[in-house]
């Protein structure tokens, strides 16, 4: 292992690695540029390097960009990456209360710690976990999708009915476009742009970014972005950050484990991990009512989980050659290009490389801390600019960011449409994040449900009879029944 560290700290690995990590901060903090996109963009640059240098660039970039997504989420309410969608809930609320600096430092420290725990878990438990996930079939993935959706009910503050309306809206939007099973274009109304479906990134940028600008222009109250974006200038003592982290060490521990486990499930990455960890933290918190109003736990849980998930996503990728998320899907492609065949044999034939990957993953956390700090400083200058300049900046970066995903002007229109929709949804107190969750999980739920039904000749019973499926179904039922049962038992105890 020491040899591995010596190799990865040689200049030909270290220099591109650090540069990629610095680029990651930038990509993460730019709405519309995702970690996946960043990785996809640097892979062509890595082909002429040693495999470990290329893999170090990819690993490092993914860690910094997932953290940096929280910077605009906290200060502008625009998630920089999908995994920061949850960070807008409490991070931005903390910023509005003048505690933005504490929120972002918590993000940085917890991202680093979460990333570290995720990597340690990757190193220690990877084979067992991957074997378990490999047993999953369509039935289990269907329940897993529903479990993800049920988190939105937990996340929502206020009316549960409106939260569900928002979730179903997301699910409905996910059905737009070509139906994968039959090739039939659904709800496209002859529009060619709708055939490939509605990408969730422009939806997310519109709902959170543009709607906030509209709200700001329409209300002009202190409550909105104009007040918040510029408020935070005070510095936060690292000791204070560590004190807050010490207070919530249980949340950090549970979120790291949840993040890694979810990351290890093929197809579920940092974004879903952040949602689930947030929901779980709220469920188990002593102050669930504080969530969504600038709760420290609400900031800590998602940011810890999404970086921990990155370690998790490498578990199935390395052990079985199955991507844990889109980033590792690209990694697998890159590894094949380097002449490496991911799978159980890698651990035997390329033991050195595996150790080097672990060394890179561990050391990257230290660089996240340093580069993240520099990144926050750099962006704070942007936030101190006059309000109208910031508003114009958010607008143009949102519009161009949406265009950049698929070079489609239609996505620019989507940002505008969802910006207006988001504004009206907030007017009627309807939460925005469940819509995103529905949109992301919709295809996973629908495809697995339908393929499962085709396999069983339209029988639903087999969805319940497989052991892992059954456990998932029970957990799902408990998520909804937990509160009523708890209050029932409490009443019983009171009576007796």
């Amino acid at each position: 292992m020491i040899d591995a560290f010596i190799t990865v700290f040689s200049p030909n690995v270290l220099i591109p690695w650090i540069l990629a990590m610095a680029l990651g901060i930038f990509i993460g903090a730019m709405p519309g540029l995702t970690a996946t996109m960043g990785v996809a963009l640097i892979v062509p640059l890595t082909f002429h390097m040693e495999p470990i240098a290329g893999l170090a660039m990819i690993l490092g970039l993914s860690f910094t960009s997932i953290f940096a997504g929280d910077i605009p989420a906290t200060f502008m309410r625009v998630p920089g990456t999908p995994a920061s969608g949850v960070a807008v809930l409490d991070g931005f609320e903390m910023n509005k209360k003048g505690k933005g600096s504490l929120a972002i430092m918590l993000d940085l420290f917890c991202s680093t710690l979460g990333g570290l725990i995720g990597v340690v878990l990757l190193i220690t438990i990877s084979p067992t976990l991957a074997t378990f996930a490999l047993q999953f079939t369509h039935f289990e993935y269907f329940w897993l999708g529903l479990l993800g959706l049920s988190m939105s009910a937990v996340i929502t503050k206020g009316s549960n009915v409106k939260g569900l309306i928002s979730v179903v809206a997301g699910l409905l939007i996910s059905t737009i476009g070509i139906d994968v099973a039959t090739g039939y274009p659904r709800f496209t109304f002859g529009n060619i742009y709708l055939i490939s479906g509605i990408d969730f990134i422009p939806v997310m940028i519109g709902l959170f970014g543009i709607s906030e600008v509209i709200r700001d222009l329409a209300s002009q109250s202190q409550d909105t972005l104009s007040g918040a974006a510029v408020v935070e200038t005070s510095k936060t003592n690292p000791k204070e950050v560590l004190r807050v982290m010490g207070k919530h060490k249980r949340v950090i521990a549970q979120s790291s484990i949840i993040g890694t486990l979810i990351g290890a499930l093929p197809g579920a990455g940092a974004d879903i991990a952040a949602w689930v960890a947030y929901g779980f933290a709220k469920k188990t918190s002593k102050h669930p009512e504080a969530f969504g109003t600038g709760s420290e736990e609400g900031v800590i849980a998602p940011t810890t989980a999404n970086n921990a998930a990155l370690g998790g996503t490498w578990i199935p990728a390395l052990v079985f050659g199955i991507p844990g998320d889109t980033i590792t899907a690209i990694v697998l492609g890159a590894m094949l290009m380097y002449g490496l065949k991911p799978g159980p044999l890698v651990f035997i034939n390329n033991k050195e490389l595996i150790n080097q990957i672990f060394a890179v993953a561990l050391s990257s956390q230290m660089f996240v801390l340093i580069l993240g700090f520099i990144g926050i400083k750099a962006f704070s200058y942007f936030f101190k600019a006059p309000r109208n300049v910031v508003l114009a900046g958010i607008t143009i970066f949102s519009l161009i960011g949406a265009y950049a995903i698929r070079a489609s002007t239609f996505d620019v229109l989507l940002v505008i449409i969802f910006g207006v929709l988001g504004f009206f949804m907030e007017k009627v107190d309807m939460p925005l994040s469940p819509l995103i969750l529905g949109l992301v999980l919709g295809p996973m739920i629908e495809d697995n449900l339908r393929i499962g039904l085709i396999k069983t000749d339209n029988q639903f019973l087999p969805f319940l009879t497989r052991p892992i499926s059954f456990v998932f179904a029970v957990i799902l039922a408990l998520t909804f029944l937990y509160e009523p049962i708890k209050s029932f038992i409490a009443r019983r105890i009171k009576k007796s």
């Binding site: 309306i165 409905l172 039939y184 509209i214 143009i396 039904l453 085709i454």
Partner: protein
């Protein structure tokens, strides 16, 4: 009985659900004619869920006492000279974005972005020369970042003649 925002949410849900249920019968059937696996199955389930949720929302809206609403009406009935101005600014902002969308391809990234940012900041009350300067800076940053560094094909539009 006054229709409030709460009622509107329920009504909109039901309208969307009914529209979906009117469209989906035109979808083809699933494997071996089974409806459970066809493309209409999932949207139909969601539409039914929307009818139930919309109904529940309406029920809750009727059940809740309109006490708070009276206060709202009183508040909003107060003449606010600033309010109309803000609504107009908001509409202008949305119109500017739609204009940007429409002219992005034909005019090209550089011209449409400079124009859009200049007009937007001017609308928000920034001095014209400042607006122009900041528009140029923003456009340059985005061009360098997205266009040069990440080689995303930003439309050249009418500037394509000069090779930009």
């Amino acid at each position: 009985m006054k229709v409030t925002r709460e009622h509107t949410v329920g009504i909109v849900c039901i309208i969307i659900a009914v529209t979906i249920l009117l469209i989906t019968p035109s979808f083809p059937a699933g494997q071996e004619g089974a409806n459970l696996t066809g493309p209409a199955f999932f949207p139909n389930v969601l539409a039914i869920a929307y009818i139930l949720l919309g109904g529940l929302q309406l029920f809750l809206a009727f059940k809740s006492k309109p006490k708070r609403n009276n206060n709202n009406i009183k508040q909003s009935s107060k003449k606010d000279p600033q309010q109309l101005k803000r609504i107009i600014t908001t509409l202008e902002y949305i119109a500017l974005m739609v204009g940007f969308f429409a002219f992005f391809k034909p005019l090209g990234f550089i011209i449409s972005t400079i124009l859009f940012l200049f007009l937007l900041m001017w609308l928000l009350g920034v001095k014209w020369w400042k607006s122009l300067l900041i528009s140029l800076v923003y456009t340059a940053i985005i061009y360098l970042l997205f266009g040069m560094l990440f080689t995303i094909g930003l439309p050249a539009g009418i500037l394509s003649v000069v090779g930009l």
